[in-house]
C-alpha cells in the first residue's frame, strides 16, 4: 500500500504538529492565518506548555513547528524551546525576526534541534510591507544578517505566495542563496484575516501556471510544505510531495489556549477537536476526538471524483474550500480547471460563507472588509452547484436534485 493510503487512516500521533504559543504579535499581517494581535488571557501557562511537551515526548512526536502570533514575544519562549529539545522534541519556530538579536542568533547557532523560519512576503519592502506592515522587511533582513553573522546556516525563509510576489520567485531564491538559507514557499489560504484579503491576494490563474512551472524547474531546492498539490492538474509532472490533505490525520494545530484543531489553517469551531486541558490531554484528543476519527474515514471525492487530476489534486485544500463557502468534497476555490471559480460565483450569489470565528486582531487593525457579520454557515445550496464540477458539461449548474454532500 502507498504511504498516502496509510496516512489517510491517520497515525497514532501526528507527524506535522503546529503549536501556536501566543496570539500576541507585534505585526498585523493582512493574511494572518490566526488573526493574531492581542494576547489571549487564557493562554497556556509555562507549566501547562511543559506538560504538553511531556505528552508529545510520550507520543514520540519528534519535531514540532512553533508559531503564533509572534512566539518569541512570550517571555518564557526560550525556556519552552529548551524544554522541548531537552525532551526529544525538536523545534522549528516561525518568527518575523523581531527578537533575533545578534546575541540570540549566536545562542541559536549553538543549539542542535532548533531551526528558525523567518517570514518574508516580498523580496523588496515595496512588496513585503503592505502585507506584513511598515518596517517589517527591514526587521526580517536584520534578523537574517544576525543569523548569518552567528554562523547559522540553513534557516528557512518562508514566503506566502500572492499575486504580488509570484514575479519575485527568482529574487527570493537569490536572497536565500545569499544567506545560505533555504527558501520555503507556501500557498496562501483564506484563513484568519486571510479570509478578508484572499480575493485581492491569491494568485491569478495565469500566475498559477507560472508558479507550477517554476516549481517543476526548482522543486528540488525549495520547500513547499507540499502545499501546492492543487496545481498538479496543470501538467503531467506531479509536484514532489504527498499530495494529501493531512488535516486530523497527520497534521494538527494546538492553539495558544490549548485548543486542538485539525489544521493550522482551519481555526474554526467546525474543526475544533478538543483541548489539551481536557482530561487525557493532547493524546486523547488526537486519538479519540470524534472529529479526527471522522476525518480519518474514507473521504469521497464528491464532484471531483470524475476529474482526471483527482489522484494528484484530491480536490485541494479543505480549509480553502471551507472559508470560501464551498462544499468540502467539491473542487478547490483555486481549482486549475476553473471549477472552483464557477462554484465560487454561485456561492457569491447565495449562501453566506463561514467567517473565521476566532479573531485576536488588535482594535483598529481589525477587518479590512466591511462585512463583519457572520450568520452561521452552511454549504451552498446543492441545487446551485454544478452537479459534476469536474466535467464542463453544458448542463453543469442546471438545477439538479442530486445531493452534493
Amino acid at each position: 500500500m502507498k504511504l498516502v493510503e496509510h496516512f489517510q487512516h491517520g497515525l497514532d500521533a501526528p507527524i506535522c504538529l503546529t503549536w501556536e504559543l501566543t496570539y500576541a504579535c507585534n505585526l498585523s499581517c493582512v493574511h494572518c492565518l490566526s488573526s493574531s494581535g492581542r494576547r489571549d488571557p487564557r493562554e497556556l501557562s509555562t507549566a501547562e506548555c511543559k506538560a504538553v511537551i511531556d505528552d508529545l515526548q510520550r507520543l514520540q512526536v519528534f519535531y514540532i513547528n512553533i508559531g503564533g502570533g509572534e512566539p518569541t514575544i512570550r517571555s518564557d519562549f526560550w525556556e519552552i524551546v529548551e524544554y522541548a529539545v531537552d525532551h526529544q522534541v525538536g523545534v522549528k519556530f516561525s518568527t518575523n525576526g523581531v527578537r533575533i538579536t545578534p546575541e540570540r542568533a549566536r545562542w541559536l547557532a549553538e543549539s542542535d534541534y532548533v531551526d528558525v523560519q523567518l517570514s518574508l512576503d516580498g523580496a523588496t519592502p515595496e512588496v513585503n510591507d503592505p502585507v506584513r506592515g511598515d518596517g517589517s522587511f527591514d526587521t526580517t533582513m536584520t534578523a537574517m544578517r544576525n543569523l548569518r553573522e552567528a554562523g547559522f546556516t540553513g534557516f528557512k525563509i518562508s514566503v506566502v505566495m500572492t499575486r504580488h510576489n509570484i514575479g519575485q520567485l527568482d529574487e527570493f531564491k537569490r536572497i536565500a542563496d545569499e544567506f545560505d538559507a533555504q527558501l520555503r514557499i507556501t500557498r496562501l489560504r483564506p484563513s484568519g484575516r486571510g479570509a478578508d484579503t484572499w480575493d485581492e491576494l491569491h494568485p491569478l490563474p495565469e500566475q498559477q501556471l507560472e508558479l507550477y512551472d517554476w516549481l517543476v524547474a526548482h522543486g528540488e531546492d525549495v520547500l513547499t510544505g507540499d502545499s501546492f498539490f492543487h496545481l498538479n492538474a496543470l501538467g503531467s509532472t506531479p509536484l514532489p510531495g504527498l499530495n494529501l490533505c493531512g488535516a486530523g490525520r497527520v497534521v494538527c494545530l494546538i492553539d495558544p489556549i490549548g485548543d486542538v484543531y485539525a489544521c493550522p489553517f482551519a481555526i474554526h469551531d467546525e474543526f475544533l477537536a478538543g483541548n489539551v486541558r481536557d482530561e487525557g490531554g493532547f493524546t486523547s484528543v488526537w486519538r479519540e476526538s470524534e472529529l479526527f476519527n471522522r476525518l480519518r474515514e474514507p473521504q469521497t471525492g464528491g464532484a471531483c471524483s470524475s476529474c482526471s487530476a483527482f489522484d494528484t489534486c484530491q480536490g485541494g485544500c479543505m480549509a480553502a474550500k471551507f472559508f470560501t463557502g464551498l462544499p468540502l468534497d467539491g473542487p478547490d476555490p483555486e481549482c486549475v480547471k476553473g471549477n472552483g471559480q464557477r462554484a465560487l460565483e454561485l456561492v457569491g450569489a447565495g449562501a453566506p460563507k463561514p467567517t473565521p470565528d476566532k479573531d485576536h486582531s488588535r482594535p483598529g487593525k481589525k477587518k479590512q472588509s466591511g462585512v463583519p457579520v457572520a450568520i452561521g454557515w452552511g454549504p451552498p445550496e446543492p441545487e446551485r452547484l454544478p452537479d459534476r464540477a469536474c466535467d464542463t458539461s453544458p448542463l453543469a449548474g442546471m438545477p439538479s436534485p442530486k445531493e452534493m454532500r
Binding site: 504511504l3 496509510h6 497515525l11 497514532d12 500521533a13 507527524i15 519528534f62 519535531y63 525538536g90
Partner: protein
C-alpha cells in the same frame, strides 16, 4: 552516514541517532541528526530491524523475525536502503 556497502553477513543495529515510533502499519523512523523522516511500511520489517540488535548478522535477523523465504531478497534490499540512509549501522562488537 555509512559509506560501506551493506553486508548481510555482518551484525547491524539501529543507529543511535534514530528513533522508531510504532504505527498501525509499521513504524515511523526519525533521525535526530539528519532530521529525516521515513516509514517502515510493514510490521515484519519493524520486527527485522529490532531483531538486528541481537542477531549475529542480517540473515539471522530475517530468520528470527520469521520473514518468509520468498521475501528475503526484498527485505535485504530494504535493509540495504536503511544502511545507506544511516538508519541502521554496523555493530562493532
Amino acid at each position: 552516514m555509512s559509506t560501506e556497502a551493506f553486508a548481510p553477513d555482518r551484525p547491524y543495529r539501529l543507529s543511535p541517532s534514530v528513533a522508531l515510533r510504532p504505527e498501525p502499519f509499521g513504524a515511523l523512523v526519525y533521525d535526530f541528526t539528519t532530521r529525516k523522516l521515513s516509514f517502515l511500511k510493514t510490521r515484519l520489517l519493524v520486527d527485522v530491524v529490532h531483531a538486528l540488535e541481537e542477531a549475529p548478522d542480517a540473515h539471522a535477523a530475517l530468520r528470527s523475525a520469521e520473514v518468509p523465504d520468498g521475501q528475503h531478497g526484498q527485505y535485504l534490499d530494504a535493509l540495504a536502503g536503511l544502511a545507506s540512509a544511516g538508519t541502521i549501522e554496523v555493530r562493532g562488537d
